[in-house]
Symmetry: C2
Subunit: 235 residues, 2 copies
Amino acid sequence: MATRAIHEAESRGRLSRERVLDAAMTKADTAGLEAVTMRQLAESLHVAPMALYRHVANKDDLVDAMVDVVFGEIGVPSGGGDWKSAMRRRAIAVRDALARHRWAIGLMESRRTPGPANLRHHDAVIGRLRAAGFSIAMAAHAYSALDSYIYGFALTKLNLPFGASDDVGDVAEQMLRPFPIKDYPNLVEFISEHVMQPGYEYGDEFEYGLDLILDALDQTVAPGSETSSDRLPER
Amino acid sequence: MATRAIHEAESRGRLSRERVLDAAMTKADTAGLEAVTMRQLAESLHVAPMALYRHVANKDDLVDAMVDVVFGEIGVPSGGGDWKSAMRRRAIAVRDALARHRWAIGLMESRRTPGPANLRHHDAVIGRLRAAGFSIAMAAHAYSALDSYIYGFALTKLNLPFGASDDVGDVAEQMLRPFPIKDYPNLVEFISEHVMQPGYEYGDEFEYGLDLILDALDQTVAPGSETSSDRLPER
DNA sequence: CTCCGCTGTGTACGCTGTACACCGTAGCGA
DNA sequence: TCGCTACGGTGTACAGCGTACACAGCGGAG
């Protein structure tokens, strides 16, 4: 009884898949995905490592579930407006979710076993495009182009690192330091004249490319006209 | 002496950074990046694990070098033609390199310490755009949009798995099996009417989106005209 | 009251990256 | 020719990983 009481006090009740998932998300968000080990996760839940296996099949199952939580947060493209603004809002929702959960980038589309939120999301986006008059093939084109861009942007932004609040110029300069500057004149100009300028924010590039693609799709799908509600040529 | 002779016969001479790198690339290409462990790598070189550390600082250094080899294979956009076809060729070269080295996807832009081939590549691409009359800001827009798309496509293609020669339809159907079909009508239609059709190849989507972006950039950079050789508006 | 089943535990195995001390040899200066 | 040094390869060891397996304690059903 004493043991039980103490244990309850420490862990605020029994373990559950949801509590495991919550702890994993928090840990990943704050300490990175590499900090999400079964052992560390168990420790932060005040539980033995093997206890987790009563609630997740294995680590892959856990990661699958985490990714599905992110899809859940993204939700589905909300009702109003034309397809273009719906897709624009969705793109930004995805970007924002990936900004909150940087560890999910590169995992979102890579799971061999998509969860329900994942499927619901894809279903809704395709549905939205079809309702706007996209043929199946054209919806595939649009979805592929948009998703590639969105995930790719997140990926390159995550990477080429400019980590959040680091001074971008410092990082860039540091990457170049070991090399003779004269070998990379365009890169040097690019960094000193653009990246290091005050007010530069790589994240701002996102909407430029996004609108580029959305406008191009719009032109393809409704060349000349401005409202589209019928099946239109694929290519 | 006997020992030495045997050892030489097995390993075809001394170890070197290059031999380590070659073995690592081969292993990653054939068995995936997760098979590239210091121990397995050492074994395939007939050498003790710790021997590798005389030639690479640590595993991160090794992976950095592997990524730079991929950039080396991509090369720089070759001379002739307008910027659009140069960028198109580059995009396809990147896609092909990533197809040869699937493990590199997600690593290409993520290394905090880019190698010389990486920098040379970026320098050349920026240089090509600048030479075609792109302002610095416009070059940034174009580069960001293109790279996001290219890497994102590789990422989503790698992922949503349809692994190479698997039957795409089978995989898709299998992903849906655990769920009630009626919950995802658009997805079901999409898969059965499009993805499962004979001749469908997701990889074909790449050039559609690529040309969409290239044409859109072209229109932005030279609205109306068909040859561009001067600085033009950023946005 | 007894028993079953569920949940959490402890131990153990094989794998990972890599620190550290060691040793044989090749190549050099004397 | 000798002796030394520096370098490349080895063996051992440690901490940390995912997880298989046998077990224990408790709650609820019969």
